[in-house]
Symmetry: C2
Subunit: 224 residues, 2 copies
């Protein structure tokens, strides 16, 4: 493939899940440096701050053509721009939340998302007590209104925070209405057409694996 082909950043056909998960971590750290007025940072320093090896960070960046030139540390502003572009944060997308129990409300109230180009445009629930109630200026509607809303507003991402029993049905309605990606908090293995990207966020997995590691540490005093 030619070196400078067309658009500033071509997404490589194959990027590992591990790399994808590290990109937002790099971005967060770089934005924190930016806030502190840091202009340039080496792969060694940045990597140490997010607990990865410098070689890994450079290898990750290189998959998108690299962010600098040999001998020159990274320009913080430039790296932030590149990462935001790579992750797609530069172009705002419309999102909706299905399920406004405690977790759904917490997500809806998380203001940071707006800054990263996640436009929350709709909230849906099946509970009549919640329908009509507003969060951050958005009125909760009945879940039956969701499919039409997705089509009309061009909603790309759906967030599922409904109880496990309802998750598959909600996911199917999202997929049927043309949604592109689903961020699923319900501890259920959803079945979806392959054109819809699924990202599971099983919080219980987090605390259970923490507990396993604590147990292992106490038992063998280090390592797992």
């Amino acid at each position: 493939m030619a070196r400078n082909d067309l658009s500033p950043t071509r997404t490589p056909v194959k990027v590992s899940e591990a790399t994808i998960q590290r990109l937002p971590v790099y971005l967060y750290r770089l934005q924190a440096l930016q806030k502190h007025g840091v202009r340039r940072v080496s792969s060694r320093d940045l990597a140490a701050q997010v607990r990865v090896k410098a070689a890994q960070l450079r290898y990750d960046f290189r998959q998108f053509g690299g962010f600098s030139r040999p001998g020159q540390p990274y320009d913080v502003d430039h790296a932030v721009r590149r990462l935001r572009e790579i992750l797609g944060l530069a172009v705002p997308v419309n999102c909706i939340i299905a399920g406004l129990g405690n977790l759904g409300q917490a997500i809806a109230n998380y203001a940071q998302f707006a800054q990263d180009g996640f436009n929350l445009v709709g909230l849906f629930d099946i509970n009549p007590k919640l329908v009509g109630y507003s969060i951050r200026g958005i009125t909760i509607e009945d879940i039956d209104a969701m499919p039409a809303f997705i089509g009309q507003r061009g909603v790309q991402l759906g967030i599922i925070a409904v109880p496990p029993e309802a998750a598959q049905s909600v996911a199917e309605r999202m997929a049927g209405a043309g949604i592109r990606g689903i961020w699923n908090f319900a501890p259920v293995d959803l079945r979806l057409p392959p054109r819809v990207v699924l990202h599971d966020e099983f919080l219980s997995v987090g605390i259970m694996s923490l507990r396993f590691k604590v147990k292992a540490l106490l038992e063998n005093g280090g390592g797992f």
Copy 2:
């Protein structure tokens, strides 16, 4: 190492992070089968349901001695017991939450945790408007009361849901008071003594990686 050494399940010294993260997923699926009255399940079927290869599931189980014998499918009840034991869910642990904004409250209200042996015993916040308020029968106390509380109640796990700026200080106070593990929701790279296990739960990473995958899918029509 001898085959049947002592306690029913010895935790191997080295279990990969990937395996650790899959154990709770197996457990959830098996519990769902249990609820549906299923008594036995093959590695092939169980693996398909959680979208892993059967060989991987067997390899995961084998790290803890295996859950059955050649020719015999897994006994669902037995596998559930083994997994709960392996993960340490059989022995209840005391947990606290620091930070009761939207996210902290959502976690506090998540009832499922109690069933998995996570006893929520304390809630702490710095905001005087929240102190004194109760969630699920637990009164929110001032964060300054946290260290003594950890020692007195033998709290093992701390959940950090405070703003990023406050996270490092809260984490240090938890660590100083003898906590064993921290489940951190603040998008910050915490520095902790190695005797404290840290599990980061950066929700933004989830939605950002979802967005990246959606973008990649639209650009190259498949693969990443």
